[in-house]
Structures are given as structure tokens and as C-alpha cells.
């Protein structure tokens, strides 16, 4: 019997500060044991429980794509006990990991379709995973549009990659910040408004991930544009512990976010009381 409560070991390979106030850090980790790497099969949208022995565990969306072999990437916002401890890690340190946990974006069902990806703030992590995955399997998908908003230009994560994507012909990238700032020559305005202006084709599949308030106002925009509830997907967050549907903590209605989610279609969410 496999014991999902036991973390396996990973090693910190690289650390990147994502913003000037150093509250967001991206960690690249490698598997210490070959067998753990082989057992770790995942898809974009899934998450892990990152474990610091003596401090505890925290769930984070996987920011790397399964096409990037041998490493896992997480972007961690420093906000409490465990995340603070994670920020103190150094290259070479060994940490614990449990996963992959939860479900994933509908990458199979989206084959052959146009896709619009809408993200806000540092919740862009699993969207990065998705974008890298789609680009790696580019021929399987139609038009790809990405709308990504942050309060200020510094708060975008994966800045180098955003530059790369911006140059590509096969991906349309709309970056937006809340208020105009000198030197910023891209869009200004909140994500819901920009989405309305961009007017994605309602036959495309929509993946929305960001702070609750952004999700709350973006979903109606998509519905107004004519998107069906079954092709709008979003990812939810709740406090978690076990990650495997036992501890009861992440319940919303009769679902547990850790096993029935974190990815839900809008059609599913409408059946859950108080999902937002």
C-alpha cells in the first residue's frame, strides 16, 4: 500500500526573486531519487504539498510543465509560517514533497480548440505550466490568447518568459497593469475590462486563474460574451492539510477542493453553494 502522507525528497536547484520586495520567489527543484521522478506523472493545474520538517506543509500549484523533465517549479509568496521558512531555503537544501495532488486543466478535451488563458497576480503559476505545455504540443491546439494582469509591472512573475512569449507568432499575449505608469507601453485596466475589450471568441475554451475578486468579475464577462459554462474553467484555493480528501478542511459543498478540484468548470461551480 502506498502511503501518501510521506513526503519524498527534492533538492533546491535554483532560486529566483520575482519582484523587488522579494515577497515572491520561484524555486526549481530536482528529484533526489530516480524512482520518485519516475512515479511523479502530472498535468498542468495540479499541486503539491511542500514540506519543511518541523514547520509543516503548504500546498502550491506546480508552475513547471510535465514537458520540462526532471524538475518541478513553484512560485511561493511569503505570507506565514511555512512560506517564510521556504523563503529561507538555499540552493542545495533538501525538502519534502507530496504529490502530484488534485485534478488538472482539461488539456485532452481542449485539443483542436482555440484557448484563452486569463490570469492575475502571482496565481499565474499553474497557467505558466499550461502555457508551456500547450506550446510544447502546439500542433494539437488552435489559437492561443493569454491575458495577464498585475497591479504594477514589477508584480508580473516569469518576466523573462513573458518577453519570449510576446515575440512569438503563435501566441497572443495581452499584459495589463491596474493604473498607467511611465515607461509602460502595454495595456492598462483590470483583467475583466481587458477581457471584454479583447473579446475572445466564445467557442474557445477559457481558463481563468487569479485572486477571487478577479475570478468573480471575469466569469460574468465571459458569460456575456457567449461562453458556455462547460468550457470556462477556473482553479480554487482553500486552506488544506491532507490534500487527499480525508481531513475535511477544504470542503466546499459536497466536494473537496484537493481531490475534486482545484480545477472546476463554471457549470460545476454553479452547483456548489458558496463556491466564491
Amino acid at each position: 500500500m502506498c502511503n501518501t502522507y510521506i513526503p519524498f525528497q527534492m533538492k533546491i536547484e535554483n532560486i529566483i526573486d520575482e519582484n523587488p520586495d522579494r515577497s515572491l520567489r520561484t524555486f526549481d527543484l530536482s528529484f533526489v531519487k530516480k524512482e520518485d521522478e519516475e512515479a511523479f506523472k502530472y498535468l498542468p493545474g495540479q499541486f503539491c504539498e511542500f514540506s519543511i520538517l518541523g514547520k509543516g506543509e503548504s500546498p502550491f500549484g506546480i508552475a513547471s510543465s510535465p514537458t520540462e523533465k526532471g524538475l518541478l517549479k513553484f512560485t511561493v509568496s511569503r505570507i506565514g509560517l511555512v512560506t517564510n521558512e521556504i523563503h529561507h531555503l538555499q540552493i542545495g537544501d533538501i525538502v519534502g514533497m507530496r504529490g502530484p495532488l488534485g485534478n488538472w486543466y482539461p488539456v485532452e478535451k481542449m485539443k483542436g480548440k482555440d484557448i484563452v488563458i486569463i490570469g492575475g497576480g502571482f496565481a499565474f503559476t499553474t497557467l505558466r505550466s499550461l502555457i508551456v505545455y500547450l506550446l510544447e504540443n502546439r500542433a494539437d491546439y488552435g489559437k492561443i490568447t493569454v491575458i495577464y494582469g498585475a497591479r504594477t509591472p514589477e508584480l508580473f512573475i516569469f518576466k523573462e518568459e513573458l518577453k519570449e512569449w510576446d515575440k512569438r507568432e503563435d501566441l497572443i499575449l495581452h499584459l495589463t497593469i491596474d493604473k498607467p505608469i511611465k515607461g509602460w507601453n502595454k495595456l492598462c485596466g483590470f483583467v475583466p475590462t481587458i477581457t471584454k475589450n479583447v473579446e475572445p471568441d466564445p467557442t474557445s475554451w477559457a481558463i481563468v486563474c487569479g485572486p477571487p475578486i478577479m475570478i468573480k468579475f471575469t466569469l460574468p464577462v465571459l458569460s456575456e460574451l457567449g461562453f458556455d459554462d462547460n468550457i470556462i474553467y477556473t482553479s480554487l484555493e482553500r486552506r488544506m492539510k491532507c490534500g487527499i480528501g480525508k481531513c475535511g478542511r477544504c470542503g466546499i459543498g459536497s466536494k473537496y477542493i484537493c481531490i475534486d478540484g482545484p480545477v472546476f468548470s463554471l457549470a460545476e461551480l454553479k452547483k456548489i453553494p458558496d463556491a466564491f
Binding site: 510521506i6 520538517l53 518541523g54 514547520k55 509543516g56 486552506r239
Partner: protein
């Protein structure tokens, strides 16, 4: 059915202990709970304060010990458990918990989310359900297509007729135990058992028809309904700790960075901090939202997943509540609401 005279009961338990770790109701000061026994005379015949869930799902349980980055899992290969003296309501509670802990979810890597700490202990156990001769006024197992003599989930069903225990093998495991112990099912005691059963049933409050509860709860939208129910509740969580079906737990690390253990401890949806996120956001920050969660989980959400209620009518939450909040009154309110519409 076989008969074990009370005089022989000590020997029976002694024999049982050769193969099993025996758990039974014992006194703990003024309270009582299930714990491992060494001798038959430690056993008490009471409605225990705490439920029998602690036998398979202890209040605090070590998931693993760690030292530097080395992890050591406690030995799960222990002698199997025999559980003596558990009433039908708790036996049913174990069946509900088994759904949660055993329920396997499958991921792309074919991993199964089973709970190894619960599974092994429960799967290998021998459950002696003891018929409840004297239900309390707070007992309402009869609302749930059950009753004080319900054999559901038992390996062996036991009736105490005063002088003896009458044992009936129910499951395959129970049959095997009978064969191994050299018991044969002979012996006619049906008549005595029948009258004890009738007597116990007659001591219970009238049964309520709860078939509408799931549907009605789907329809209740307004928060006033829950605010009213919550008036007396102080969110102390006692109801969820004594409950045989509540399974929520917290996971935390004890010890220093270099050496310590990761444990799980019973937790409760009655506490605000249960769902409070690092950002300060709390989806169930208000008292009524937590009572709503408890009632909804028991009579709607769990039902949605498993077509049964997450309550066995044991009445413990009624007995333990410091403000006399009675879950039966809440369920009756829900039924009444349906009838009024």
C-alpha cells in the same frame, strides 16, 4: 448463537488476546472511552462519552518520525484489533468513516489515495457489536433505519442476557472466528433475544421520517434559518469530538527542525481557524456558517456522495453540549419546514 457464561468471560477475553489487541469500553475518571485492555474486568457496560472511532482513528496519531531528512513510519504491522462492546451506532459510524478513509481516488499516475493508518487496522479488525439493552433518552438511531439491535457492520453480534453473552457470527470474518474457536452456531436463544430487542426498542422516542431532509437542505438559501439554529451554539467543538462519524483532522509537526514527529490530531469545523487562510480570508468566519457546515455535511453533502447520512443517531452531541443544543430539534425543524412549504 453460542453462549458464553459470564463466569467464563475472563477466559474468553484471555483467549482473544492471544491473537488480538482487545479494545473495549473502560472508565477514565468520570468519563468513559474505548481503550486497550489487559483483563476482562476493566470493561464497563456504559454508553461511552467518546465514540469507538478512537480505536482506529486516535485523537492524536503519529504519521511519521523524522530525524534530519530521514523519515520513519510507525510500525503498522501490529496484531489485529478485536473491538468488544461497541454499540450499533458506533459500528455504523465506523462504516461511514471507512468510506472516507478507504475511498480511493485515482490520479493519472494510478496512485490510490488510501489511508494506510486507518485501512489496515480496520480491515483486519474483529468487531463485536453489543446489543444496546437500554437506550438513553438522547438516542435516536431508530431514525436512520437502524436500532439498538442493528447488526450492520458487525462481525459478531453479542446480546447480554444478564447471565451470559450470546454470540452470533454475522460476517465471513465472524464465521471464521467461530470455526477457529471451535464454536458451533447451535443453541436456541432466539426467544430471549427477541424480547430484549422489543424492550429496548420500546424505550426509544418515536421515529421521525427523515427522507425529506436531504432535498429540503438543498433548498434552504436564506442565512436567517441558520442564524436562528445557531443562537445557542458557542462553537466549542465538543459535538464533533465525541461524534463517531466526524473525521476532520489537523496535521502538525512537533519537535525541532532536526528531530520530531508529524502528527494528525482531531480537528473541528466548529472552529473559525479551521478554514482561515494565511491572507486572513475566511470562507466560514461566522458562527452560523460553521453550524451550517456541520449540519449540511451530515445531512446533505455526505448524502450527496454516499446516499447515507453522516450521523448514526448516537446522541452523544446532545449529551455533551454545554448549551443543550439538540441536533434532533434541528432535524425536526428541517422536516417541519418541508411540511410547511
Amino acid at each position: 448463537m453460542i453462549e458464553i457464561k459470564k463466569k467464563q468471560f475472563g477466559d474468553f477475553i484471555k483467549n482473544l488476546m492471544e491473537t488480538y489487541r482487545v479494545f473495549a469500553p473502560t472508565k477514565d475518571g468520570k468519563k468513559s472511552s474505548f481503550s486497550e485492555i489487559k483483563k476482562a474486568d476493566e470493561i464497563v457496560d456504559v454508553h461511552t462519552t467518546k465514540s469507538a472511532k478512537s480505536v482506529f482513528f486516535p485523537q492524536a496519531e503519529v504519521l511519521f518520525n523524522y530525524s534530519e531528512n530521514e523519515i520513519e513510519v510507525p510500525n503498522l504491522e501490529q496484531k489485529p484489533i478485536a473491538l468488544w462492546g461497541i454499540h450499533s451506532c458506533d459500528t455504523k459510524g465506523l462504516l461511514s468513516l471507512d468510506k472516507v478513509f478507504k475511498n480511493a481516488h485515482q490520479l493519472p499516475n494510478n496512485k490510490m489515495y488510501e489511508d494506510p493508518y486507518w485501512n489496515k487496522k480496520y480491515a483486519e479488525s474483529l468487531i463485536f457489536t453489543l446489543a444496546c439493552n437500554e437506550p438513553l433518552t438522547t438516542c435516536f438511531c431508530n431514525w436512520f433505519e437502524s436500532g439498538p439491535f442493528d447488526k450492520t457492520g458487525a462481525d459478531i453480534f453479542v446480546v447480554d442476557n444478564g447471565e451470559s453473552f450470546l454470540l452470533e457470527a454475522i460476517s465471513d470474518k465472524g464465521q471464521t472466528f467461530f470455526i477457529q474457536s471451535g464454536f458451533d452456531q447451535e443453541g436456541e436463544h432466539q426467544h430471549a433475544v427477541f424480547s430484549l430487542k422489543k424492550k429496548a426498542e420500546s424505550m426509544m422516542e418515536e421515529k421521525q421520517d427523515i427522507s425529506s431532509v436531504f432535498e429540503t437542505l438543498n433548498e434552504i438559501q436564506e442565512k436567517e434559518f441558520w442564524e436562528e439554529i445557531t443562537q445557542k451554539c458557542i462553537n466549542c467543538g465538543a459535538c464533533t469530538f465525541v461524534c463517531p462519524t466526524c473525521h476532520c483532522f489537523d496535521v502538525s509537526d512537533e519537535g525541532k527542525h532536526q528531530k520530531g514527529k508529524r502528527i494528525r490530531v482531531w480537528d473541528s469545523c466548529m472552529f473559525g481557524i479551521f478554514t482561515e487562510e494565511a491572507s486572513g480570508h475566511n470562507p466560514r468566519g461566522l458562527s452560523y456558517q460553521r453550524v451550517q457546515q456541520r449540519i449540511m455535511h451530515k445531512f446533505n453533502y455526505f448524502y450527496d456522495n454516499y446516499e447515507e447520512h453522516l450521523c448514526s443517531g448516537c446522541g452523544r452531541c446532545i449529551r455533551v453540549c454545554p448549551t443543550n443544543l439538540d441536533i434532533r430539534e434541528i432535524v425536526k425543524k428541517i422536516i417541519k419546514r418541508k411540511n410547511n412549504v
